[in-house]
Symmetry: D2
């Protein structure tokens, strides 16, 4: 597991991993790891911004991150967040993604702002990755640690597309709590 | 939601959807729907074979279906079955997939044979699909009805690759129970 | 299932079911049903108070209800709320119960205020009850409907004690989400 | 946490904790602990019997244990097992309890035999207990370890009645998986 501390997260974000330009030679494993780390760093950064600057600033940051990290400009994104269910299970629009991360949207009344929960560390373990040209998929465990030191582990799948502007964007994101039935 | 009855399932399987040859012009939505229906039909067929012919016959059929429907010959498959967790969460090998579907593998002691549970109907609703050339992804709800009429709904993501032999194979499969926390 | 609407809830509360005095002849099934209805009415009333009068008023009401409906003055209460886990699973003190119902307690950082979630209808179905003198237990399903019309069903056990002031108080409360593993 | 090993479990069962006679002076904390240990020892003993002597022997043993440890002869028992849901959530009859523990009952088709899962260690931590004369309740965590060393922790409530034959019997049993929503 690779842990990204809050400090590293800030650095990663300031180096703007999502904006990394790639000469279009197809996706590499290193590019996937960089995108995964950037996702974790961004989540931590939204939590930190919320605590230090409030909900409006966090919402603005989340909006920018979703714009940059996800592929909503390409069309519907296949996004099933961890704590979503019922009619609001799938967040195919950027509006639904923003609601999940920062809450405050009457159309998604159960969203409490997943990115606001005081996340301070992020780690991931890929079980396997699939790369085909400028499309790739990863699957594995993601570990999130909050300000109280409690760790949440989720089963996480991402699909990435290398877009025409040579940036890696999330076109698929399926996150779920571990099965607990035995 | 599209329901495939046990009879339709048998027909679908006998027409051998997984073996459908496509001239390699990229994946179409119709091809994805056909593959999804074939997956459901195959699950029902394994259940039926188990009830009528026993565990050995069901295991043989499941082996053939995994060989045909999944892309294990291409390398690791990103497979997170619904009822798997802990160290056995991810089934990147065909051995792990077979254990999940029919049980009876000491290396996967918690597997009880998901495909043996008397499934008789299958339905799906795609929330969104993503197609890029010969790679595609789908996300949505899948509904499985068993012999007692009880329906299990899961959040389901599939990734498909059109292989060189012009067949659509599952390279990603993430299935999870709905979040129930509110 | 017996439904208590918001109006009935208000009536039930104003008739003060928790304060009903019983000549000490032991608990009857009717007394248990009255206490269960009063619990549901109280939950709805806290939600309503929160929406109309804000968090402070809701907290005050919840404090009064816990004082009246639960047996914390008798000692530890065996209380496992639906959405509590880890080190904060059990709420043996009134402070822990209040935190669960209205949130806002730094010692229980995961509590978001269960009673504030816009509950508008309450129903219950007892699977069985056990009465022995002035102690009783009930087990069954409880259905809670929120302002969006979504229904949450929980498995619920209550233990009651008829206290020396002839009032029925909750000394045990175990609530859990239904098992979803098959 | 108090761990009862398989050996201790056998001893506890052979000393027949459920059959311990108490002069009827009301329930004591020590009596509750003894009954809890006996429950764990009995579960382990059923697992061991199943592995060594098969399903029929395990079913016979489970029948005897349910007869002795639970209060079905007094009427309905308030029993919500960990892995039960839907219409089969509550097992108010001894038939339903036996089906849960050893499976093989067509009326409870989802039961796979909870007591047959290779349990080898049992531990419990009471969060609080309530005693009133010859009725008592306990609430806390129970930890079960299986043959693979995997530990399952559940939230567990028991209600006990000291019956006229001076034996402590379970009249309430509510077991649930920990909430995993945050």
């Amino acid at each position: 597991m690779k842990l990204v501390t809050a400090i590293a997260a800030t650095l990663a974000l300031s180096s703007n991993a999502f904006a990394a330009n790639y000469s279009n030679q197809g996706i590499t494993p290193a590019m996937l790891e960089q995108a995964q780390q950037a996702w974790g760093a961004a989540l931590i950064q939204i939590s930190k911004t919320y605590q230090e600057e409030g909900h409006e600033a966090a919402t603005l940051l989340a909006t920018q991150i979703i714009e940059q990290a996800y592929g909503y400009q390409l069309g519907d994104v296949l996004f099933k967040p961890t704590l979503a269910s019922g009619e609001q299970t799938f967040r195919t629009t950027s509006e639904g993604a923003l609601a999940y991360f920062v809450g405050g949207n009457d159309d998604f009344p159960y969203d409490t702002g997943f990115a606001l929960k005081g996340w301070s560390e992020f780690g991931y373990e890929n079980a396997a990755i699939f790369i085909h040209g400028d499309v790739a998929m990863t699957m594995g465990h993601v570990h999130l640690t909050n300000q109280y030191g409690d760790v949440t582990t989720v089963d996480k799948t991402w699909g990435f597309k290398l877009t025409d502007d040579d940036q890696l964007r999330i076109v698929l994101h399926h996150s779920s709590l571990p099965y607990s039935g035995y």
